[in-house]
């Protein structure tokens, strides 16, 4: 394990800072600036994982986010563990641990490897075909699949890190800081566009930054040298913000992009603490320049997946950027010139290049001559037909290609090597472009999909739009920028290039072997182990649509979204089906481009910030009294106040009795409050409520029921007339925002002629609701000079008064059936008011009660709760509330619907009371109701909506909606439960004080 393939000092790697890390339990060393992949390769470790289906040994293939094989679990079994991390992206730091994912018990001895030998039994669609039948065996299959299909392990411990979100607005966003992106950003910023430049790597410059070959010169300088100067100049440009280690995950419509900025993943543990780990950038850009580059594609040939077989460009990056040789004897296999440059570059560094195998016909060019001069043998018109070496490549076999490229001839030549660089041409990274909704066109000459057209707010530049040669890139970039940025010239208009000319072109999607296809393993999608055979099988089985073939073969369905293999899949389908690729269309790339952590997505919205909550001004008092809370919409409401270890049932029984026997107090601050003013306020209320409002006197209160236009109950509450043209409406706690929205809708769109203004005042007032036979005495103590006599201050009326110096609005209204006073004060005095009431009420055993007791007390009175006893299908008639529906009014919201054929049916579900035959048995809310036993199937007549044990009646009571229930009073019904059947009798829904005597007692 002490092998060292570090070739020479690289300026991008800090060789003075040695870093130790562990991979699969073994300690290795790398340098600051290494990725996990480059550090492993420097230690001559290629084997990093097993493939998903066949468990074949797999090695590092690429140097970037397209990596299909080198997918690891970082820091396993710690609170910072992360699965599915690409070793080619993650930077090493002191103490980092990583392990292979899809292998058990170890990457070197993998039990699932048996699948490799069973592979004839595991064709495309295998999982669909086999594990679906018989259905009852699914549980067994699932166990087997889950055990062997190791896609990493989810973290089980609490994430210790902080995540953040940031909104950014900019004029120009440039994605990708290769040569095109840098020049684009520079020229945008220099022309007064507020510009943001992002790159997923930690260094700017893309692949040009380590480009030193002789055949790509700008202004007679090495392109890397030239670009470094440009990057240096970026520092002095205003209007330009640059973010590295930042990858764009999604590009949505209207130039809305999401990017992940990685801030601490490359730092060692002690430096991660208390820092933001990753930040989600939510970017709105006026213009977007995509300079996302191109991904090199491999080639599809027999056994093209062994550890040691890599992309040619990756070998170059490892040697030129990281200073790492990927092997000691390297062979290139190519269909284009780039492998020649790479061979020369390696040769310069003293790395042995055995041969170049080229599928093209020979061309006498300068490039060829330089390679031959360097002592590298070229095999023209040859293809690799097989490879060998189980855990590491040791040999490739090549043969001569036939003219049409579909078969091989002649003798097999064997070349010993430990690394094969495959150069199959370039695929523009158009993922973000298509995510944005832009369309692609297929370039039959270059065999690539390119962005179809540029538009006013987005362009693609550089190799992501199919320009691969430096002169081509820069010339087109110049023209595009001038047009897109509306400028007359760029700062690189006059540069000069020298480019070698290209040899020739040849592209074969599936390379032939001397063996029949059925006996070969030409992988197309490495991550999902799908081969060319699988594609052909899918076509034979009748699949035609690319989307169907993709799902059947699983090609492109992995975490890499088929970045490497999609083009080959299309090419093979097109060739087999005899159509053009352009006619097939490409598959849709969906966000995210690279996976995001959940932490980044949720940002700060974790723990108590997960959801917004609202607290009343009295909240601290409830907390001090150790109340239990419940969520009502966004509100935290006191639920009940247990004393001395009471259960909820005990507390609620005590609170309910106290409220009826002496006095109770409820924090009602959460009720929605809408201030309504204007000369047409009364008319407005006439139109929105079912009952009449014009004759309500000033200082009086009235209960109102609001319907939807379909006649169904929407909300309810008491509204008070404060003045001639002034009302205060209350709504349900949960419905406040929607009611306001609905009322605004009618005012603005249907009745703009009405002079009415609505203002939400929910948060401006705190409300203490004092109830019970002694409530009047308590209120008298607080406001001695207010006349509380029934004559002066009757039920359903309003007074304004002062508690000491604080103005309060008092409504004598009741949701419990007891005498009640709702005292409203400015919110900031809420707790003070509350404490005064408690103090004054001490001698009357004033008992604070929560929402549960409130619900019980109102159920004793048969008062509905909208949303509990109704569900959007109940009319007022269904609720037996005919009394509140005005017959005289010409119109109100929902009126017409109350006599549609459906709403006048007699057998609609109607609100009734239910009494259990055994008064001790409390029904379950939601329980279904039937009229017959021993019938199967039996009709469900309805269900229980509210159910309590009433301490004041000493029996169980329930509200329910029952089909035709109105006419069933006294009828026996049944509630079948899991273990028993409960017998009930239908009753009037008002259980307590049916004549309302207590309100004025």
């Amino acid at each position: 394990m002490s092998e060292n393939l570090r070739i020479k000092s690289s300026q991008y790697i800090d060789e003075t800072t040695r870093i130790s890390f562990k991979f699969n339990g073994t300690t290795y060393y790398g340098f600051k600036g290494d990725t996990l992949a480059s550090a492993l390769l420097a230690n001559n470790v290629h084997l990093v994982g097993r493939s998903f289906k066949y468990h074949r040994p797999r090695g590092i293939m690429t140097s970037g986010s397209e990596e299909p094989n080198a997918i690891v679990q970082i820091n396993p079994n710690t609170n910072r563990t992360e699965p599915n991390v690409r070793a080619t992206e993650v930077e090493i730091y002191e103490g980092m641990e990583a392990s292979s994912q899809n292998c058990w018990p170890s990457v070197n001895f993998d039990i699932g490897g048996i699948n490799n030998f069973l592979s004839p039994l595991l064709p495309a669609g295998f999982y669909y075909k086999t594990f679906m039948w018989p259905a009852r065996f699914w549980g067994k299959y699932e166990y087997f699949i889950r055990h062997s299909a190791g896609l990493g392990k989810s973290p089980m411990l609490k994430d210790p890190d902080i995540y953040d979100h940031r909104n950014i607005h900019c004029d120009v966003l440039v994605v990708g800081a290769g040569i095109s992106g840098i020049l684009a950003a520079k020229n945008a910023a220099k022309n007064n566009y507020k510009t943001l430049l992002l790159d997923e790597k930690n260094e700017l410059g893309g692949s040009t930054i380590y480009e030193n070959n002789e055949s790509n010169k700008i202004d007679n300088k090495n392109s890397s040298e030239w670009l470094k100067k440009e990057i240096e100049e970026l520092k002095n440009i205003k209007n330009l913000e640059i973010k590295t280690r930042t990858s764009v995950a999604a590009y949505h419509q209207y130039n809305y992009l999401l990017a992940r900025e990685n801030l601490t993943d490359h730092l060692e543990k002690k430096d991660k603490t208390n820092k933001i780990r990753q930040r989600l950038l939510k970017i709105r850009a006026k213009k977007v320049i995509l300079a996302t580059g191109a991904l090199e594609r491999p080639m599809v040939f027999n056994n093209n997946d062994r550890p040691g077989i890599m992309l040619s460009s990756a070998i170059k990056k490892y040697s030129d950027f990281y200073g790492v040789a990927c092997g000691r004897k390297i062979v290139f296999f190519t269909n284009n010139d780039s492998a020649y440059e790479n061979a020369l570059s390696l040769n310069d560094k003293g790395i042995k290049v055995e041969a170049i195998v080229d599928i093209r016909k020979q061309s006498k060019t300068n490039l060829e001559k330089r390679v031959i001069d360097a002592g590298v043998k070229i095999y023209w018109e040859h293809t690799v037909v097989d490879t060998s070496g189980y855990k590491r490549l040791n040999n490739v076999s090549i043969m001569k290609l036939s003219n049409d490229g579909t078969s091989v001839t002649g003798n097999k030549i064997s070349i010993s090597c430990d690394c094969l660089g495959v150069a199959g041409g370039w695929t523009p990274a158009v993922h973000l472009c298509t995510q944005s909704g832009s369309k692609l066109a297929f370039d039959e000459d270059k065999k690539i999909f390119i962005p179809n057209k540029n538009n006013s707010d987005q362009i693609s530049v550089g190799s992501c739009c199919g320009d691969f040669k430096l002169d081509e890139i820069l010339k087109n970039l110049n023209e595009k920028l001038k047009d897109f940025l509306d400028i007359t010239k760029t700062d690189f208009e006059n540069i000069t290039f020298n480019n070698d000319q290209e040899i020739s072109k040849r592209n074969i999607w599936l390379l032939p072997s001397d063996k029949a296809l059925g006996k070969t393993r030409p992988f197309v999608d490495y991550q999902n182990d799908a081969t060319a055979k699988d594609i052909k099988l899918a076509l034979r089985e009748g699949f035609r649509s690319i989307e169907h073939v993709k799902r059947y073969t699983t090609i492109g369905m992995g975490t890499d979204q088929g970045k490497l293999g999609n083009m080959h899949a299309l090419g093979i389908i097109a060739d087999t089906a005899g159509v053009k690729i352009g006619e097939l269309g490409t598959t849709t790339f969906r966000p995210p481009y690279t996976p995001l952590t959940f932490g980044t997505i949720v940002g700060r919205n974790v723990g108590k910030f997960f959801d917004i909550f609202r607290r009343t001004p009295m909240n601290d008092w409830h907390v001090e009294q150790k109340a239990e809370f419940e969520n009502v919409g966004q509100w935290k409401r006191a639920w009940y106040y247990p004393i001395n270890g009471e259960t909820m049932h005990q507390a609620v029984q005590r609170e309910s009795k106290a409220a009826r026997e002496s006095s109770g107090i409820l924090d009602a601050s959460t009720l929605g409050k809408i201030d309504i003013q204007g000369s047409d306020a009364s008319e407005f209320l006439n139109r929105v409520y079912t009952n009449a409002w014009s004759k309500l006197g000033i200082g009086k209160c009235r209960y109102g029921l609001m319907l939807n236009e379909d006649g169904m109950v929407y909300d309810d509450g008491v509204t008070t007339r404060l003045g001639e043209n002034h009302y205060l409406m209350t709504t349900t706690t949960g419905g406040a925002a929607n009611v306001l929205g609905k009322l605004e809708d009618y005012l603005q769109t249907e009745w703009p002629e009405l002079d009415v203004y609505l203002t939400s005042v929910t948060d401006q007032f705190a409300t203490a609701s004092l109830c019970g036979p002694n409530s009047k005495k308590i209120l008298k103590k607080i406001i001695p000079d207010l006349d509380l006599s029934d004559e002066n201050f009757p039920h359903m009326s309003f007074k304004e008064a002062k508690v000491e110096n604080i103005v309060c609005r008092i409504m004598r209204i009741s949701f419990t059936g007891e005498q009640s006073f709702e005292i409203n004060v400015q919110a900031s005095y809420g707790k003070d008011l509350w404490e005064k009431c408690i103090e004054a009420g001490k001698e009357f055993n004033i008992t604070p009660y929560g929402t549960e007791t409130m619900h019980l007390l109102r159920a004793e009175k048969g008062f509905i709760i909208v949303g509990q006893d109704t569900d959007g299908t109940m009319t007022p008639i269904d609720l037996q509330m005919d009394w509140i529906v005005s017959k005289k009014k010409y119109d109100f919201i929902g009126k017409r619907s109350l006599y549609r054929s459906d709403t006048i049916r007699e057998d609609r579900k109607q609100l009734v009371g239910l009494l259990t035959d055994d008064p001790k048995v409390v029904l379950e809310e939601g329980a279904q109701i039937v009229s017959e036993l021993n019938k199967n199937p039996v009709e469900m007549l309805g269900h229980v909506t509210s159910s309590y044990f009433s301490p004041n009646l000493n029996k169980s009571i329930a509200l329910a909606v029952v089909r035709g229930g109105k006419d069933m009073i006294g009828k026996k019904l049944f509630i079948p439960m899991e273990d028993k059947t409960i017998n009930v009798t239908v009753s009037n829904p008002v259980f307590f004080d049916q004549t309302n005597e207590r309100l004025n007692a």
Binding site: Q253, Y254, G741, D745, Q748, D891, K895, R900
Partner: protein, 91 residues
């Protein structure tokens, strides 16, 4: 996520808005004169076009104003925005 140009506030993120369904469906002035079918037509029938659609939107977390929008539902391109009561542009 679109950017919507509220006619009262200017450009804001879609998050601040609520969609309110098809535009230019007027509530009948005399609902009681309508047959069940006519009322149902107003109450339930809404178009769901792939292409240019006239819609109501509300700046719910802003000025609370309702306005109209012409949107191509196939690509979410907003073709026009105009105030309530204004004549719909022909597109």
């Amino acid at each position: 996520m679109f950017v919507i140009n509220c006619p009262y506030c200017g450009e804001r993120d879609q998050q601040e808005f609520k969609a309110g369904g098809e535009a230019h469906i007027e509530r009948p002035k005399q609902p009681t004169e309508l047959s069940d079918d006519e009322w149902a037509e107003y109450l339930f029938m809404r178009k769901n076009i792939k292409g240019v659609q006239y819609e109501r939107w509300n700046h719910a977390h802003g000025c609370r104003k309702w306005f109209n929008m012409v949107r191509d539902t196939s690509n979410d391109e907003i073709k026009a925005i105009y105030k309530m009561g204004e004549k719909p542009p022909s597109i």
